[in-house]
């Protein structure tokens, strides 16, 4: 296995709101190897995006990283000054956000935006910079890149804008790209194009990725490892296909069963009753308790994350049942 790139340990990000402490990310730990694609799945409010933001130190008040460590090739990122973080962001770790129409600056041409991203980390001549920009634009599938450098974001379609955002993320050959729902705002046909392209790029550049999404199907087609989050915690993790074939946590199982492709057309879908609890003042019990079909007396206390080699599960009554 390739060397370890990123170690996240006990990461907790809380938001100090008027109503109390909102534990958006709670004791999250995982390891990412070089060139690996890891999928981070969960519903909205599960803490998956905040986990991504916390790695890059992009949490603004009232949010605060209250505990944990994030090490990139052994270097601790938590506690770095803003100046130090700026040398990491965009060069070693970059990020692709969900909505390309809000992440690109509407009043700068994409060439200007790309040159700025390059200039933030190194000094090159204008010609060399343009060549680099054209090169990555070609790689993400934008035809006629040299002319497109002078285009403004509004002159691109949604799919093309997301390609530009990906090109900017690739510009400095980062070791890790955090993709926060990069295809959610796109149509299926464009989503398929971008998924294929991202996978190829990751292989060609040897870039590791954290792919954040609520869509199990898209994640399963790109990621080799999966982390499932619920109410701010990782509740299950493991090799993607293994985990999706035999989920151990009742929540993961419920999610999979609720997909229309798992039911006969016209028949009621298996549904998880209820909704995710508020992350403010979470009790001591398992956060999934009120929606769980397998709960027992043990579930009054929040279960620990148990590990069995490659698989981890946070449940007192795992579905497969052969956990100690």
């Amino acid at each position: 296995m390739s060397p370890v790139l990123l170690e996240v340990e006990g990461l907790s990000t809380h938001f100090m709101t008027r109503n109390g402490v909102l534990k958006a990310v709670n004791d999250v730990s995982f390891t990412l190897h070089e060139g690996e694609i890891i999928g981070l799945v969960g519903e909205s409010g599960s803490g998956k995006s905040v986990t991504g933001f916390s790695i890059l130190g992009l949490v603004d008040p009232p949010g605060k990283i209250v505990a944990g460590s994030v090490r990139l090739q052994g270097r601790e990122l938590i506690g770095m000054t803003d100046a130090e973080l700026r040398t990491v962001r965009g060069r070693e770790i970059s990020m692709v956000f969900q909505d390309p129409s809000t992440t690109l600056n509407p009043v700068l041409s994409i060439g200007t935006q790309m040159r700025l991203a390059l200039a933030a980390h190194e000094t090159t001549s204008r010609q060399a910079a343009d060549a680099r920009c054209i090169d990555v634009l070609n790689k993400v599938g934008i035809p006629d890149a040299a002319r497109r450098l002078d285009y403004f974001p509004h002159q691109f379609s949604g799919g093309m804008r997301q390609r530009v955002a990906i090109a900017i993320a690739l510009l400095n050959h980062p070791k890790l790209i955090i993709c926060d729902e990069p295809t959610t705002a796109l149509d299926v046909s464009i989503q398929a194009q971008i998924l294929l392209q991202m996978k190829t790029l990751a292989q060609d550049f040897g870039t590791a990725m954290i792919w954040i999404s609520h869509d199990l199907s898209t994640v399963s087609s790109v990621a080799s490892q999966l982390l499932v989050m619920y109410a701010g915690r990782i509740i299950e993790s493991g090799p993607a296909r293994d985990l999706l074939r035999v989920p151990d946590h009742p929540y993961t199982q419920g999610l999979l069963n609720s997909l229309p492709e798992h039911a006969r057309p016209g028949q009621p879908l298996v549904q998880i009753p209820g909704q995710m609890p508020s992350l403010i003042n979470l009790g001591a019990e398992c956060a999934f308790l009120s929606r769980c079909t397998k709960s027992g007396p043990l579930c009054q206390s929040s279960p620990a994350l148990r590990s069995d080699g490659s698989r981890r599960v946070r449940c007192h009554h795992p579905v497969a049942g052969d956990w100690q």
């Binding site: 519903e43 909205s44 379609s157 949604g158 799919g159 093309m160 149509d187 299926v188 046909s189 464009i190 989503q191 398929a192 194009q193 998924l195 294929l196 996978k199 609520h214 869509d215 199990l216 199907s217 898209t218 399963s220 087609s221 790109v222 080799s224 993607a240 296909r241 999706l244 074939r245 419920g254 999610l255 999979l256 609720s258 997909l259 229309p260 492709e261 039911a263 057309p265 016209g266 028949q267 009621p268 879908l269 298996v270 549904q271 998880i272 009753p273 909704q275």
Partner: protein
């Protein structure tokens, strides 16, 4: 419960008929352009051809799925059928009566068609208690009187799986899934014959999506609703609809019973769309199980001549660039229910 009780065995009657309807959007001219036009200058009108000569029948008791990528005109067609947008050309009739009046600013003529929108955060008035939101329409149209409105609202809340006390609350006190239930209750309280749902589950989480899909399935059976279900999510469409119509750049390119179309798409676009859905990968060595369609949807400001799909179509030939294929029961299609608009249908 429905005001227009349907006799048994009228499943085949056409309820809502769209005949050669088109919709174009032209931005209003600026003051300068007006003067230029008055002086006889050519003015660039930038007309968006959102819906282009579409004919479609919705039968009583049918659940029809309308699928396509964003910008293909499916929402516009849905709004035309709901009597929100007047058609630029063609007609839309409910039981033979136009759904919209005539004149410069035509109004909807019927309350028998109701709509559920995508975003329940935007479609409910944040300052109005939901009991009032649901009861307002039926009160105004005389479906219920002031003394009975409370019980009436409670009954519809119960139908969509909400407690009667919910009537006293405001929209912000509900989650996304619950708000969508409120939006459905509001539409149903008008006792419509046709419910038009524009992406009603797209903004919901997966586990909540299943709850709302189940609600639609229940309503379909209990109320024998006729529904137009607009979605880009082909998995949801397959689950819930009897028939589907596939739209591409303002035109319907394929129509037929849902399962038949999924198993055996005849239009190259339908095939490509179905191929591009990522499926849950649980075994096998090949991680990627889908194929991507080349290119993107052309601009509806300047749609290509001939078949709109010819620029991306792997089977396109010379004729496709100039002649528009009709949506027909092509001779190669023995099945009466299948219609395809293609010069060279698959199979």
């Amino acid at each position: 419960m429905m005001s227009q009780a349907q006799p048994e065995g009228t499943q085949d009657g056409v309820l809502l008929q769209v005949s050669k309807a088109s919709k174009q959007f032209a931005p209003s001219l600026s003051f300068g352009d007006h003067i230029a036009a008055w002086l006889g200058q050519e003015v660039d009108q930038r007309i968006v051809h959102a819906v282009d000569t579409v004919s479609l029948d919705l039968h009583r008791g049918e659940v029809l799925g309308l699928v396509g990528e964003s910008g293909c005109g499916k929402s516009t067609l849905g709004r035309m059928m709901a009597g929100i947008y007047p058609a630029s050309r063609g007609s839309i009739e409910l039981d033979g009566v136009p759904v919209m009046g005539t004149g410069k600013k035509p109004l909807k003529t019927t309350t028998r068609i109701q709509m559920v929108f995508q975003d329940p955060f935007a479609s409910l008035d944040p300052r109005v208690r939901i009991g009032e939101t649901i009861g307002e329409g039926p009160l105004y149209h005389g479906l219920v009187d002031q003394t009975r409105v409370k019980a009436y609202v409670a009954q519809w809340l119960e139908t969509v799986g909400l407690p009667a006390e919910a009537a006293e609350r405001f929209p912000h006190q509900f989650s996304g899934g619950q708000r969508q239930r409120v939006a459905i209750a509001r539409a149903l309280a008008m006792q419509p014959d046709v419910l038009i749902c524009d992406e009603p589950v797209a903004s919901l989480d997966v586990s909540i999506q299943a709850q709302i899909i189940n609600l639609f399935l229940k309503l379909k059976h209990e109320l024998n609703l006729t529904m137009l279900f607009i979605s880009h999510d082909l998995g949801v469409i397959r689950h819930i609809t009897d028939n589907i119509a596939v739209m591409y750049l303002g035109r319907i390119v394929e129509r037929g019973p849902t399962l038949q179309v999924y198993e055996n798409p005849r239009h190259p676009y339908t095939r490509a769309l179905l191929d591009s859905i990522p499926r849950l990968v649980t075994e096998g060595d090949e991680l990627v199980t889908f194929k991507a369609i080349e290119g993107e949807l052309p601009s509806p400001l300047a749609p290509p001549p001939g078949c709109h799909f010819h620029l991306r179509c792997p089977f396109a030939q010379e004729v496709c660039k100039s002649s528009v294929p009709d949506l027909t029961n092509a001779p190669s299609l023995p099945d009466q229910d299948r219609h395809v608009a293609c010069h060279f249908p698959i199979g």
